[in-house]
C-alpha cells in the first residue's frame, strides 16, 4: 500500500508544487493521476521515488518510509517509467537496458536472464531482445522502457504520460500492455480516454492539491468538475454528448 500523509513540497525558488496531500493507494489498484500542466503530477512522482527530498509530510510504501537511507529499498519496490523513453534507454542493446536494474541488484547472470526474458515475454516483445534501442520506433521504445522497469519486479509502477507522442496503433499497444500488468499502477496522464479504459480510480491534482478523488466514471464523466481544473471530458464522451445534443434537437 502507498500512503501519503500531509505531503507538501516547494522548489528552491519558492514555487509550491505540492500542498498537504493525503492519499492512500491500495495494492493492485490502477489509478490515473490527472491535472493541468504544472498541477504537481511529476513533482509527486519525484517525491514518491525519492528523486526530490521530502521536507514536509511523509510517504510510506507498505512499512517502508521514503527517506534518504531507505531509497535503495524504495526503488526495489517502486519503479518509474519516464515520459521520454530516450531518457530511460541508454545501453547499446535492448537486453542490456532491461538487465540494467537486475544487474544493479547484483543478481546472478541466470537470474538476470530470467528476469529479462520474463519481462520481454510478458509484453510480447521477445523479438526486440537484441535490437539497438535508438533504432526502435516510438511505441517499441515505450514498451521496452516499461520492460526495463518490470524486470525489477516492483510492487508499484509510476507511469509518466505513457501514451504521449504515440500514433494511435502504438498508443493502443501501450494501453494493452498497461492492462496486462497486475501490480499497482499510478498513471500520470492527460489521456483521459486511456484513464477511462484502464483505471478504476482517478485523482485530480490542481495547484498541487487533491481536487477530486473517486471512481473513474464519477470523476471523468463530471464535466463541471473537470472544467473547474482546466480539464475536459474524455474525447469519447464529448462525441457522445454532441450526438445526444444533435438527437435532442
Amino acid at each position: 500500500m502507498l500512503e501519503i500523509e500531509k505531503l507538501s513540497y516547494a522548489y528552491p525558488d519558492g514555487h509550491i508544487a505540492i500542498r498537504e496531500i493525503d492519499l492512500k493507494i491500495n495494492d493492485g489498484e490502477s489509478v490515473a493521476l490527472v491535472g493541468a500542466n504544472g498541477a504537481g503530477k511529476s513533482s509527486l512522482f519525484k517525491l514518491i521515488i525519492g528523486i526530490s527530498q521530502i521536507k514536509e509530510g511523509s510517504i510510506k510504501i507498505g512499512d517502508l518510509s521514503v527517506e534518504k537511507k531507505t531509497l535503495k529499498d524504495v526503488r526495489k519496490k517502486v519503479g518509474m517509467v519516464f515520459q521520454n523513453p530516450d531518457d530511460q534507454l541508454f545501453m547499446t542493446k535492448v537486453y542490456d537496458d532491461i538487465a540494467f536494474g537486475p544487474r544493479n541488484e547484483l543478481l546472478s547472470d541466470e537470474e538476470v536472464e530470467e528476469r529479462v526474458n520474463n519481462a520481454l515475454e510478458m509484453l510480447g516483445v521477445t523479438h526486440l531482445r537484441d535490437r539497438m534501442p535508438h533504432r526502435l520506433s516510438g511505441g517499441e521504445k515505450r514498451v521496452i522502457a516499461i520492460a526495463s522497469v518490470l524486470s525489477m519486479n516492483p510492487q508499484i509502477i509510476l507511469f509518466d504520460e505513457p501514451t504521449s507522442f504515440l500514433d494511435p496503433s502504438a498508443r493502443r499497444n501501450v494501453i494493452n500492455t498497461l492492462e496486462k500488468l497486475e501490480m499497482t499502477k499510478i498513471i500520470a496522464t492527460h489521456d483521459l480516454d486511456m484513464a477511462l479504459d484502464i483505471c478504476d480510480r482517478v485523482i485530480i491534482l490542481h495547484h498541487g492539491s487533491v481536487f477530486a478523488d473517486g471512481k473513474t466514471d464519477d470523476i471523468l464523466l463530471n464535466e463541471e468538475l473537470l472544467l473547474g481544473c482546466h480539464l475536459e471530458l474524455p474525447f469519447c464522451m464529448q462525441k457522445r454528448k454532441v450526438r445526444k445534443q444533435d438527437s435532442d434537437k
Partner: protein, 265 residues
C-alpha cells in the same frame, strides 16, 4: 546532420565491439587496464627526439587489433578527432625549437619538427590504446576496475556519465540545428551572432536531459559502484599475458629494438 548521425553510430559501434568473444575480449579487465596504463606511461615517457625507437611501440595496437578482430576504420576515424589537439600542441615546437638536428636530401630538419612528429605519434598510440581497451572491455567493467585501483568514484562517474551523455548531446545538437536551419533558409550553418545563444541553450537543454537520464539510472538501482561488473578472479593465462606484454613493452622502452634488429641485418 549525417555527420552527427555517423558520430552516434560510431559511439555505439565501439560498445558493440566490446561484446566480442576473441582471446583479447576474454582477458581479465584488470590485465587490460594495467597494460593500457603501462603502455601509455611508456609511450609518453619516450625521448621526444627518438622517433625510430618510439615507432617500434606500434606493435602493441596493431597486434591487439588483429587478435581482437577490431576493424581498423572506425577506430582510425575516432582517433582522427584527437589529432588536431596534438597538432596545436606540437606546432609551437616547430616555431620555437629551430635547432638543426639533421639534413635529409638537403632539407634541414630541426629538433622542433622531430618533436612535432613525436607528439603526433604519441597521441596516435595512446589514443589507439584507449580505444582498443574500450572496444574489448565493457564500460561497467572498466569502471569497476578503475574503482578497484582506487581511482576516486567521482572521477570514474564523471568519465562514464560523460561517455553516456555524448550521444545525448549529439542528439540535442542535431534537433536544435535542424530547427535553426529550417528557420534560416539559404543559410550556411549557424551565424556567429547566434552561436552564443545556441551553445548556451544547448548546454541548458543537455543539463535537463542528462539529469533525467541520471534519475532514470538511479531509479533502477544505479549507485556508481558497478559491483555487478565484478569479473572472475585473474587466471594463470591472464598473468602470462600481463607479464609477457609488460616485459616486451619495457624492453622496447629501455632498449632501442630498431637498432638491435638493424645490427642483425
Amino acid at each position: 546532420m549525417a555527420n552527427i548521425s555517423d558520430s552516434m553510430n560510431t559511439i555505439n559501434s565501439l560498445e558493440e565491439m566490446a561484446e566480442g568473444k576473441t582471446i583479447i575480449h576474454q582477458l581479465h579487465p584488470m590485465v587490460k587496464l594495467v597494460i593500457t596504463l603501462l603502455y601509455i606511461v611508456l609511450v609518453v615517457s619516450f625521448d621526444p627526439y627518438n622517433i625510430t625507437g618510439l615507432v617500434v611501440l606500434a606493435f602493441y595496437p596493431v597486434i591487439l587489433m588483429a587478435l581482437a578482430e577490431i576493424p581498423y576504420k572506425p577506430l582510425l576515424t575516432r582517433m582522427l578527432v584527437a589529432l588536431p589537439f596534438s597538432f596545436f600542441a606540437g606546432i609551437s615546437n616547430i616555431i620555437f625549437n629551430q635547432k638543426l638536428a639533421l639534413m635529409i636530401g638537403g632539407i634541414p630538419i630541426t629538433y622542433g619538427v622531430i618533436s612535432f612528429f613525436s607528439i603526433t605519434i604519441k597521441t596516435v598510440f595512446t589514443v589507439m590504446a584507449v580505444l582498443i581497451l574500450i572496444a574489448t572491455t565493457s564500460l561497467p567493467q572498466i569502471s569497476y576496475q578503475l574503482l578497484s585501483i582506487k581511482v576516486p568514484k567521482l572521477i570514474v562517474e564523471q568519465i562514464m556519465l560523460t561517455y553516456r551523455y555524448i550521444s545525448v548531446l549529439l542528439e540535442q545538437v542535431s534537433n536544435m540545428y535542424t530547427a535553426y536551419m529550417l528557420r534560416s533558409p539559404g543559410g550556411k550553418g549557424i551565424k556567429m551572432k547566434d552561436m552564443g545563444i545556441f551553445v548556451g541553450q544547448l548546454l541548458l537543454k543537455s543539463f535537463d536531459r542528462a539529469e533525467n537520464i541520471y534519475y532514470a539510472m538511479k531509479c533502477r538501482g544505479y549507485d556508481g559502484h558497478y559491483l555487478y561488473a565484478k569479473p572472475d578472479p585473474i587466471k594463470s593465462a591472464d598473468w602470462i599475458f600481463l607479464l609477457g606484454t609488460a616485459f616486451l613493452l619495457i624492453m622496447m622502452r629501455f632498449f632501442d629494438l630498431s637498432q638491435i634488429i638493424g645490427s642483425f641485418l
